[in-house]
């Protein structure tokens, strides 16, 4: 029969592991998640982040050029018109590192971000929104690249 002491210590170990894996939400504080930024595919990325596969949603949109003249600097925007966005992620399907950016939003910012990214080759750009209620939604846009921007 397990003693209460053993159960408690096992619980603490599990909680510690859960914290380390990033399942406990930390309000708008980011600590660089190296594993998530080393993944090579969309599904691998979602798994590394502990996210369910995203569902397409009209409330999420990606702003990006149809054709990027210079893959080293591609302006990309992600907008979510739904309320209660906790995180926004940018992923580029065919980049050597798929996860580009992981934004943690507070209530004080609009769910509308713009940045510039590197694209290795023509690919889909994904904006993924993680909502406060746990839903994971996405939108994607295909961007053609004439000159790849990752080097190599």
């Amino acid at each position: 029969m397990t003693t209460r002491r053993e159960t408690l210590s096992q619980g603490a170990v599990v909680a510690g592991l859960l914290c380390a894996s990033g399942l406990f939400p930390q309000y708008a504080a980011a600590a660089f998640n190296k594993t998530a930024f080393s993944t090579k595919s969309l599904s691998e990325t979602y798994k590394a982040l502990g996210l369910a596969a995203p569902v397409a949603s009209a409330g999420v949109s990606v702003q990006a050029p149809d054709i990027a003249e210079n893959g080293a600097v591609v302006p990309v925007g992600a907008t979510v018109t739904l309320a209660g966005v906790k995180q926004i992620l940018l992923l580029i399907e065919k980049n050597p590192t798929v996860l580009i950016a992981h934004f943690h939003l507070s209530d004080s910012v609009d769910a509308a971000l713009n940045t510039r990214v590197k694209m290795a080759e023509s690919s889909n750009v994904y904006a993924v929104a993680v909502m406060n209620d746990g839903k994971v939604l996405y939108a994607k846009k295909e961007v053609k690249v004439t000159l790849g921007g990752c080097g190599g």
């Binding site: 708008a28 504080a29 980011a30 600590a31 660089f32 998640n33 998530a36 930024f37 080293a72 600097v73 591609v74 302006p75 925007g77 940018l90 580029i92 980049n95 050597p96 590192t97 996860l99 580009i100 950016a101 992981h102 934004f103 943690h104 939003l105 507070s106 209530d107 004080s108 910012v109 609009d110 509308a112 971000l113 713009n114 940045t115 510039r116 990214v117 590197k118 921007g149 990752c150 080097g151 190599g152």
Partner: protein, 103 residues
Amino acid sequence: MADPMRIRAQAAAGNATVRVLMNHEMETGQRHDAADKVIPAWHITEINATHNGKLVLSAEWGTGVAKNPFLQFNVKGAKLGDKISITWKDNRGDSRTDEATVA
């Protein structure tokens, strides 16, 4: 210490549109130098943005963000004279903080 960031925070209809241009090489770790050795990855890993001292946005970035990164976002309820501060940390342990006032 890297070159300063350029931050513009413009008040518009009760919010502030913040545009930041950071100075950083954002080396992907994919490039090779003249001797064919890999140039190691060197990139900003974390960003924190505060409004009057309160954290409003944070981000983790990988090597996919472009060199001399640009970031634009809106802070709700920001008024003229409010302080916007941006801090970045990179994978070499360097960091930099710059501040701007909402105008």
